[in-house]
Symmetry: C2
Subunit: 400 residues, 2 copies
């Protein structure tokens, strides 16, 4: 297989080849990151339909925005893995790859003859990562999971929302994306280990497990104290004040963690008398007496507009913020400075979020838009040594 020519703006994962057998979100977000960081990602899809999310609305022209956003920096190869020729091509591809990522239900890959052990026979250096709803073992291993299911099952929804209110989902698909991030960490750890052992390991990441890891402090409190973590609106369970407040116009968020910040907040708000109030002199007292503190601050905040407060807090160095819509956030001067929005491809008017890791070579992901289904069949198969007539035949017979 021809190696990828070195790139002037080489990303940190330049030279790493990833076979991407994922669909929906948990897998594609992981491989989006790997691609943005420089890996050569080959997305393998079912012929004719491809990744299910290619038809998720809204569409831009005839392409799904959902698909487009998380499938940048990838090449698309169609393969029918149930056809022996399709399977053979995948094994051939695996010989020259460093990582395989899949997010099918547990057992599917083994039934296809494409499990970790099958792949290890052709390439023992291949890191083999599986992302699933519940993991590769256990009573639920064969169940499908989707974001809201693991947000509900893990307790994530139980700590999100208004106190005593209805069930609220975290407003982004943290059930999927949490697993994407931990899987990426597992894959990169396995690559590091491969430098030592020469061997590619299996990585097993479950969406449900990842939600619990994100709930780290709530889990610790549940297991070691009498407290039962619950939904608290905008409030932090251990720190006060650390929440949203209404002002004379729009709400803001404010956060006081240290005694120094508490002093600055009181001075900024003209509430210096609170500094000597024994209910509020330490962090734990402020949190324990939060029920008495909140109404005093609420009354204070009503006297000025948000803009006035934010300006004051900026002067007094009290961490605070408007509660922005996503649109407002994207106009924020800091977000603009950090170039977190990229146009892909340049000049298309199609704009997406960038990968939030700034390091040499990491600002280059913008170049390559999500591929059309099978867009790179011919090039990738030619790299595997197939001739034009062979490729034509595979196409006619719907192997690709």
């Amino acid at each position: 297989m021809t190696p990828i020519p070195p790139n002037e703006s080489a990303g940190p994962l330049d030279g790493i080849r990833v076979i991407d057998l994922t669909h929906m979100l948990s897998g594609p977000y992981c491989t989006w990151l790997l691609g943005a960081l420089g890996a050569d990602v080959i997305k393998v899809e079912r012929p004719s339909s491809g990744d299910f999310t290619r038809i998720v609305e809204p569409m831009l022209e005839d392409e799904s925005l959902y698909f487009m956003s998380v499938n940048r920096n990838k090449r698309s190869l169609t393969l029918n893995l149930k056809d022996p020729r399709g399977k053979e091509l995948l094994l051939k591809l695996a010989k020259g790859a460093d990582v395989l990522v899949e997010n099918n239900r547990a057992g599917v890959m083994v039934r296809l003859g494409l499990g970790k052990e099958d792949l290890a026979k052709v390439n023992p250096r291949l890191v083999y990562a599986s992302i699933s709803g519940f993991g590769q073992s256990g009573p639920y291993q064969h169940r499908a999971a989707f974001d809201v299911v693991v947000q509900a099952l893990s307790g994530m929804m139980s700590v999100t929302g208004e106190p005593g209110g209805g069930p609220c989902r975290v407003g982004t698909s943290i059930g999927d994306i949490g697993a994407s991030l931990f899987a990426t960490i597992g894959i990169l750890s396995a690559l590091q280990k491969r430098h030592v052992t020469g061997h590619g390991d299996a990585v097993d990441v479950s969406m449900l497990d990842c939600q619990l890891a994100l709930l780290e402090n709530a889990v610790a409190r549940t297991l070691n104290t009498d407290e039962l973590p619950r939904a608290l609106g905008s409030r932090h369970p251990l720190i006060a004040p650390f929440q949203a407040f209404a002002t004379a116009d729009r709400p803001l968020a404010v956060c006081v963690d240290t005694n120094e910040q508490w002093e600055r907040l009181c001075r900024a708000m003209g509430l210096e008398h609170l500094l000597h109030d024994p209910r509020f002199t330490t962090g734990s007292r402020r949190n324990a007496n939060h029920g008495e503190l909140e109404p005093i601050l609420k009354a204070g905040f009503s006297s000025r507009t948000r803009e006035e407060w934010l300006q004051l807090f900026d002067e007094f160095d009290v961490p605070s913020s408007p509660i922005n819509s996503v649109a407002e956030a994207l106009e924020d001067p800091q977000v603009r400075h950090r170039e977190m929005v990229v146009e892909v491809p340049p000049g298309s008017g199609r704009r997406f979020v960038d990968v939030p890791i700034r390091m040499p070579g990491s600002i280059r992901p913008s170049a390559s838009p999500a591929p059309r289904l099978g867009e790179h069949n011919r090039g990738i198969l030619a790299e595997l040594g197939l001739g034009d007539s062979e490729i034509d035949q595979l196409e006619r017979e719907q192997v690709i």
Copy 2:
């Protein structure tokens, strides 16, 4: 420096040494992951007080639960970095390290003479990762940020909560932990690149940037459609039904993504007539007509208890789940099977969540509890070649 002896149950990051100059949550969660995956993490803290979270309540005996949970698998070394001798010791430590992680405000490390360039002089192979509220550049670079501030500023709070309700924070500190995960990915990517270039890069991760990356699909919709993403309670913005429903007793979450799942849901609920209803025959129609679909399903769900529905959906293979508290989640048979709860140290009764990555060597992090302040001073300084009397003097003079 004596190399760490190889471990029988070696983690994937075995042999990697990390200098951890972080405090609070965004940094410690990152280095907790690195340690759990096998790295040797040396947590450097201010003499006498240490990480601020050592005093965050609740306490177990005299140790902070908050601190304990995310500082497992680390050794503690106290160093006064403002003292030339403390700084010298840090530089000496850096000579034998692979990674340095810090989460101070931008500029602090440079002022201490411990910025990336200073460290590169003693160890050009050192990966230097900075986690901050807003990043190492831009108009807000010197501001402090805390979880609720970036959740508010990024728009994360605007898409979480009840429609038209009050501002809700994601119930876990996703503002911090999101940055921890992306920083870990940046660090591991830089380690991979170091195998190619021999050089350790700087990694710059901002909590605010990371929130936007987690909001990926909401960002894509904001920038490319007329839609303004907003809080939708438990509902998904693009897929229906994909939300919580009340039943005859407790609520559940259910998710229908494909037409096959829709068919199975309708059969399970005895609502086969909906299968031919043109408002609901495709995913996009179900979502567009969600306002008409929801009341029909609500009425349907009221006829049985949650347990009855979940059993039916299990038979019909419809993704569904109870809406658990964290305590209920931890009792779930799948969570127990996956051994997501570990006792640290064994026999102590202190239980925490494990790292959710299953790979060879990844189940071993349980052994080492969070360190006492300066607990490993003597051993680490001896590794650096200091004798007992030197160490005694540093202690007397509060350099350590």
